[in-house]
């Protein structure tokens, strides 16, 4: 089916290969920021499975942005929780990627907006995002979209 222009929707089986490819690009970018993000050598064989599993899981939201029907970006968020909190469930954007050629057109903003709508429709009122502490571009991006620092994660090799 021909889909003109930009669309954002839940990913399905037909998007798996394209999203897996972007997933690898995303992780290859992240690994530049900290050695604890170094990706495994056989990442390619894992990525397809990772994406397929994400489509099936109901505690994972996988959105795909398509330009004229071709995937150019995606967002993957996990629904997490803490029973001690009043907001016992929240969505966390774990991966978000837009192909370089399609940057600066508001595609990531659309993906975030759709993720917010999807969470809201599930009765979830908090959308968070995680990214490497050194990724200043991501920090600026999320702050521009109204996100604020919430939880710091520190690591230490033991």
């Amino acid at each position: 089916m021909y889909e003109p222009g930009l669309t954002v929707k839940k990913a399905s089986e037909k998007h798996v290969e394209d999203i897996a490819d972007m997933m690898i690009r995303f992780y290859r970018f992240n690994e530049e920021f900290d050695p604890a993000y170094a990706v495994r050598e056989d990442v390619r064989s894992i990525a397809v499975d990772y994406v397929e599993e994400s489509i099936k899981r109901d505690d994972v939201l996988l959105l795909v942005a398509c330009w004229n029907g071709k995937p150019v970006g995606f967002l993957r968020a996990e629904i997490r929780g803490n029973r001690m909190l009043r907001n016992s469930r929240y969505g966390t954007i774990v991966e978000l990627y837009v192909k370089p050629r399609f940057r600066r057109q508001g595609i990531a903003s659309m993906l975030i907006r759709e993720a917010g709508n999807a969470m809201s429709s599930m009765g979830i009122s908090i959308l968070s995002s995680q990214f490497p502490a050194m990724n200043v571009i991501a920090k600026q991006f999320y702050e521009k979209h109204g996100f604020r620092p919430w939880t710091h994660i520190y690591i230490h090799e033991v």
Partner: protein
């Protein structure tokens, strides 16, 4: 910690260095769409590395993990004539890459140190580095090593 040695690059290093060059240029692509890489990045990188190794005005050094014997990073420095200025020659770091698994071990600093020694032996006593303005990882890295701003390159497309 594994001991790291630095030596001059040879023909046997071309393949892995081309992979690192491609990784570095792909990182630049993530940082700014104007660095969109070419489709045949792999073959262009191979040619780039081969040319650099045989060019007497380029210094190409590799960092090797002595335990595994694998090349974990490299530096390419081009000696340029500053015809109008003193000092008359400078070494320009055009490429510096350390595999993500080996970051935070001062490998980059070691590569620069050895490049500086090599430049010194050629009578060159100035070193500069060129990288995308959005590469804040590089900016922080070079800043820590005492580099400050010299040139500005601006662009517009038409």
């Amino acid at each position: 910690m594994a001991s790291i040695i630095v030596r001059k690059a040879g023909e046997e290093d071309v393949k892995v260095l081309a992979e690192y060059v491609a990784r570095l240029k792909s990182l630049n692509e993530e940082l700014d769409p104007h660095y969109k890489v070419v489709d045949d990045l792999e073959s262009v990188s191979l040619e780039y590395v081969s040319n650099a190794i045989s060019n007497p005005d380029s210094i190409v050094l590799v960092a090797v993990d002595e335990d595994s014997g694998s090349v974990i990073g490299f530096i390419k420095v081009d000696v340029k004539n500053r015809i109008f200025y003193e000092p008359k020659y400078k070494g320009v770091i055009t490429d510096l890459y350390v595999h993500p698994s080996y970051r935070r071990k001062r490998v980059g600093g070691l590569l620069i140190e050895k490049a500086v020694e090599e430049l010194g032996s050629r009578g060159v006593n100035m070193i500069t580095a060129v990288y995308p303005v959005n590469n804040l990882i590089a900016r922080e890295f070079y800043g820590k090593l005492g580099f400050t701003d010299l040139d500005i390159e601006q662009y517009r497309t038409f």
